[in-house]
């Protein structure tokens, strides 16, 4: 079976772990426990009738002064950028990460999750449209809590890396 490494990137606390858990195990945890280093989960999805195994690298978030070490991205087929709609600065961090990835390892197919859609947002849709313009970029308004768009997000990622 085809395996694809997907890296989850974003600022700390934006919901990377929660999105993976919702997608893989259908659970959501209110309690915040920061990821140390990286945790790898897998899930199989279908694209065009083919089974693809997604290796989801849930990497600890970028810190204010210390970004994610780029050697974690080796062999990645795609990148899932996560933004926290309730924290404006997390959009900036996501954009910085995207630039860093492009500089260090070249352009990767990426999809954006604008997460915590069940809460009151600081970010507007216009902010996101500006940052990730159509038609090339694709962002989803997601909630790891309610599950909104979580399947769609990972499905889109799978299609991107399979293209």
């Amino acid at each position: 079976m085809i395996k694809k490494k997907i890296v989850m990137l974003g600022s700390w606390g934006v919901g990377k772990t929660s999105l993976v858990r919702q997608f893989v195990e259908n659970v959501f945890e209110d309690k915040y426990l920061s990821t140390l280093g990286v945790k790898v989960d897998t899930k199989q999805v279908q694209v065009d009738g083919k089974e693809i195994k997604l290796m989801l690298w849930d990497i600890a978030g970028a810190e204010d002064n210390f970004s994610v070490p780029m050697n974690y991205l080796k062999g990645a087929a795609g990148c899932l950028l996560v933004v926290d709609g309730t924290r404006k600065e997390s959009l900036q961090t996501a954009l910085e990460l995207k630039t860093l990835v492009e500089k260090e390892i070249g352009a990767l197919p990426f999809v954006v999750a604008a997460n915590k859609s069940d809460l009151q947002w600081q970010l507007s849709n216009a902010d996101l449209e500006d940052a990730f313009p159509k038609p090339t970029d694709r962002w989803f308004s997601t909630s790891a809590k309610t599950g909104q768009n979580v399947e769609a997000l990972f499905q889109e990622m799978a299609e991107r890396v399979n293209a």
Binding site: S34, L36, P69
Partner: protein
């Protein structure tokens, strides 16, 4: 230093695993950038807060600095800013020191950090008459013994150096230096080090810590060993009790639980919580049993120092350490940071310092991990930190 010791004071002299490191050019540049940015941020904040009106700067440089921009005024100006030192990682290999309120000097391990550690002890001793140092050794590996003969403390005939460790540790010191047996085999003399007991006038004696129930002492007449001490019995030095326990490492290795007036420091370097697939594998069983001992000794401890050289992903070889090539670290004898944090949380340890750092981990990656640990500390109400040399803890 100088100020009164209430119970015990723990000094970290060396927390590097495997080898000493000196920050690379890139790492120095990264650290410098960090402090420069911080400085600039503070300077501009000050200009904004105190020297501007309606968004316009006003006044002269003299007003801002209180003088011409020269060393004195600049230093004074800098002192008024709230600057945080960038974290310092790296340095020497394993060496810890404990000073107690009843004036005992205890050292654990003689990695390259021992040279400076011993210097500090000598300085504190000055001309005093009672000059006893107790050294506890974890295991014979080079990064825990390499600093021994570089320390001035071994060259002063007034000094008494008592070394308490397992057989392998005592042997590692004795076979090259002959400090206990006053004998060196022809084939090894001078090869590893030019020094030997005749050039090292301090007084050395040895205590072998061993499981005397399993391996009784009488059977052997070992010229290297002064006395034997049963591993399950605590060693008592004044008001301090030191309980050794066996951990899991390719070379037999001891951890120590050090207690003084109800305060507890647990030292556990070079221990592997093995992550094999086969739970019945003999090494897997041995590791699990050793982990159980660590848990028993560390439960409710005030301070724990524990080896966390790898992240899980590195241990399994899915990812290299600052390298694109992963190598499995199973049976290398070291634990994973994630396991140390989970174990310390379960054991309700108040402060956990994760050390025996891999020499290949970069400064910014250590910072990245440390920032996560800051957050984990907030989340769990217990302190977690990447161990840093020159840390001093008063317990």
């Amino acid at each position: 230093m100088g100020q009164e010791i209430e119970n015990m004071r723990i000094h970290f002299y060396g927390v590097q695993g495997s080898g000493s490191i000196f920050p690379s050019k890139e790492e120095r540049a990264a650290a410098r950038l960090q402090s420069d940015l911080q400085l600039l941020e503070q300077v501009f904040k000050r200009l904004q807060d105190e020297h501007s009106e309606d968004g316009q700067l006003k006044g002269s440089i003299r007003d801002v600095l209180g003088g011409e921009p020269e060393r004195n005024s600049l230093t004074k100006f800098r002192e008024q800013l709230e600057l945080v030192e960038p974290r310092v990682y790296g340095g020497w290999t394993t060496c810890f020191r404990i000073e107690t309120a009843d004036d005992y000097d205890i050292v654990i391990d003689c990695g390259s950090g021992f040279r400076i550690c011993a210097e500090d002890i000598m300085q504190k001793w000055g001309e005093k008459e009672e000059r006893h140092l107790y050294i506890f050794g974890s295991h014979a590996h080079f990064d825990h013994t390499e600093g021994f003969d570089q320390a001035a403390i071994c060259f002063d005939p007034r000094n008494h150096i008592h070394i308490l460790a397992n057989h392998q540790y005592l042997q590692a010191l004795d076979q090259n230096l002959g400090i206990f047996s006053h004998h060196i085999d022809m084939e090894v003399g001078g090869i590893q080090t030019p020094l030997h007991y005749e050039l090292m006038p301090a007084n050395f004696d040895s205590t072998e810590i061993r499981d005397l129930e399993r391996y009784p002492a009488s059977a052997e007449d070992d010229p290297m060993v002064g006395t034997f001490h049963h591993i399950n019995e605590p060693i008592v030095l004044g008001d301090t009790t030191i309980q050794p326990f066996e951990v899991f490492h390719p070379d037999p290795c001891l951890g120590f639980r050090i207690e003084h007036n109800g305060k507890v420091f647990v030292y556990c370097t070079d221990h592997e919580l093995r992550k094999g697939d086969d739970e019945d594998h003999p090494l897997q069983i041995a590791s699990r049993e050793a982990e159980q001992r660590v848990i028993e000794h560390a439960t409710d401890a005030d301070v724990l120092y524990r080896d966390g050289q790898f992240l899980e992903i590195e241990y399994h070889g899915h990812q290299g350490i600052n390298s694109p090539i992963g190598v499995s670290r199973k049976d290398w004898g070291h634990s994973c940071i994630e396991d140390v944090v989970a174990m310390a949380e379960r054991c309700r340890v108040k402060q956990t310092y994760i050390g025996h750092h891999d020499p290949n981990r970069t400064w910014s990656e250590r910072n990245w991990i440390d920032e996560t640990l800051v957050r984990r500390s907030e989340q769990s109400g217990r302190l977690f930190e990447m161990a840093k040399a020159e840390t001093v803890i008063d317990l």
